[in-house]
């Protein structure tokens, strides 16, 4: 029997989705490992709930949605509590901060220093301090997994770093931001100018009220930095990524491109030459000419040639899907004969 006691930090869209998925997939884990995942503590920005026997995920979500918080005031800071609590894995899902990676970085370091495994969807610590935390994880023999941080449900990190291990990967190019892709697709299919296309994306809940994080390419640059570090073995931060967003792309540009059988897409690119985010002219019919909000990754390798993977880049259960796959892999590493499966 393998036990997995989890602490959830951050209980917004992704945190609640993960709690629900843990409940939903309980039997799958019980069948394989003899026991399901228990949530022994959960934190939002101000409050927390904890139970050694495990909290009821459905109750947690109901309380959060009903009352706006999940429990009582914290007696100490979250990093202090993460050093003291008894658990196996931290699931870090607080907001991405690309100025100083806080609070996520402090949570991750506290857990790794306490010898706990970490799964995270938070791009900040990975896009700013990748080497520091991966070294700390290695030093303390902890798992650090972050499939959800890039591409939401799309399994690009684990695909490239585990299943394509024998390949020499020469480039990864992708559509990594659903909001930008939605805006560009609508401009092209409906002839919408930039402003109304952006407003439509905001009304549908794809873009934030302050959309600059998406449309200036910052979100894509974070993902490019993470992929470069995790898959291509680089040592870069989001600030090293050369970045042009889609702010200046007007309807005339989209139309001229269309006359030449091309579409304009915001592409994140990791090659041997460098790391870059920029709008590019993509031939119609190319896998990266895809319309809508899906994320798509195009991986160029020496033996396999091209590998293409696409999926939903965001959403409550979509992102939870990636977190669950990381939790599953960690449980497998704890099986006595883990090499056999």
């Amino acid at each position: 029997m393998i036990k997995m006691d989890a602490v959830l930090v951050g209980f917004g869209t992704v945190g609640q989705g993960v709690a629900e998925a843990i409940q939903m997939k309980d039997q799958l884990f019980v069948d394989r490992f003899g026991e399901g995942i228990r949530i022994v503590a959960a934190f939002d920005s101000n409050t927390y709930a904890a139970s050694k026997k495990g909290l009821n995920p459905t109750e947690l979500v109901r309380t959060k949605v009903g009352k706006g918080n999940i429990g009582k005031k914290r007696p100490e800071t979250i990093p202090e509590m993460l050093s003291r609590l008894d658990y196996d894995v931290l699931v870090e899902m607080t907001p991405t901060n690309i100025v100083d990676a806080k609070p996520g970085i402090d949570h991750i370091k506290a857990a790794l220093n306490a010898g706990r495994d970490v799964v995270t969807s938070n791009k900040g610590p990975l896009a700013l301090k990748f080497r520091e935390i991966s070294k700390l994880a290695a030093k303390n023999k902890c798992n650090l997994r972050f499939e959800a941080s890039v591409g939401g449900a799309t399994p690009v990190i684990n695909l490239a770093s585990e299943l394509l291990r024998c390949e020499r990967i020469s480039s990864i190019r992708g559509i990594m931001n659903g909001t930008c892709n939605y805006i560009l697709s609508r401009m092209e299919s409906e002839g919408l100018p930039w402003e109304p296309a952006l407003r439509e994306a905001q009304q549908l809940g794809y873009a934030e009220t302050d959309p600059s994080y998406d449309i200036d390419g910052i979100d894509t640059a974070c993902k490019v930095a993470i992929l470069a570090n995790a898959i291509m073995g680089n040592d870069v931060t989001v600030h090293d990524v050369e970045r042009t967003g889609i702010r200046g792309v007007n309807l005339e540009a989209v139309t001229l491109a269309a006359q030449d059988k091309k579409v304009i897409r915001l592409i994140g690119e990791i090659t041997e030459k460098g790391v870059e985010v920029a709008p590019r002219l993509i031939p119609r019919g190319h896998p990266l000419s895809i319309s809508g909000t899906l994320n798509t990754f195009h991986i160029q390798t020496d033996l396999a040639g091209e590998i293409i993977v696409a999926g939903r880049g965001a959403g409550r259960h979509e992102t939870a899907s990636a977190v669950m796959s990381d939790l599953w892999v960690i449980m497998r590493t704890k099986e006595p004969n883990s090499h056999s499966s």
């Binding site: 042009t244 005339e252 001229l256 030449d260 002219l281």
Partner: protein, 164 residues
Amino acid sequence: MRVNVDLRLKDVPGQLIGALEPVSRNDGNIVGVVHSHDKVSAGRIGVNLTFEVSSEMNLDKIMNEWTARGVDILKIDHLFETFHLEYVIVGTVSANEMKRITDGIQALGGVESLNVRYSVSSSDEKTALISGKVRSKDVIKKANHFMRERSKRSGFLMIRGFGD
């Protein structure tokens, strides 16, 4: 660039290898070899060779090495492959700047054709598609570098193609 040559070699063992070696030594990539035993004239045999080479400079080196080894070059054809170059630019781009851009790309060499198409616009902002055919990926690389510089200096948005 792709090159096709007709060579004459002495009909003695080791000559063919000797003719191929300079190609690989100078970063060339051999695409095809047609060895014709029947075309023997004055103790020599004919070989038709197709290969790719990255620059004129390397091609010159290969030819010099052949001459030094006593390989006769009867005929040489450049079979150019073309690559597409394309940019959409958006911004307040003056006629002068546009000329600087097209002249600058032409000056890189290896450009077979270059076209500019403007979109009709009511504002000061100009949107244009620059497209062309060039003879190597190396030209695209240089053009990208040049366009990046211009876009930084003049402050227009540059959307480049996917061919590099």
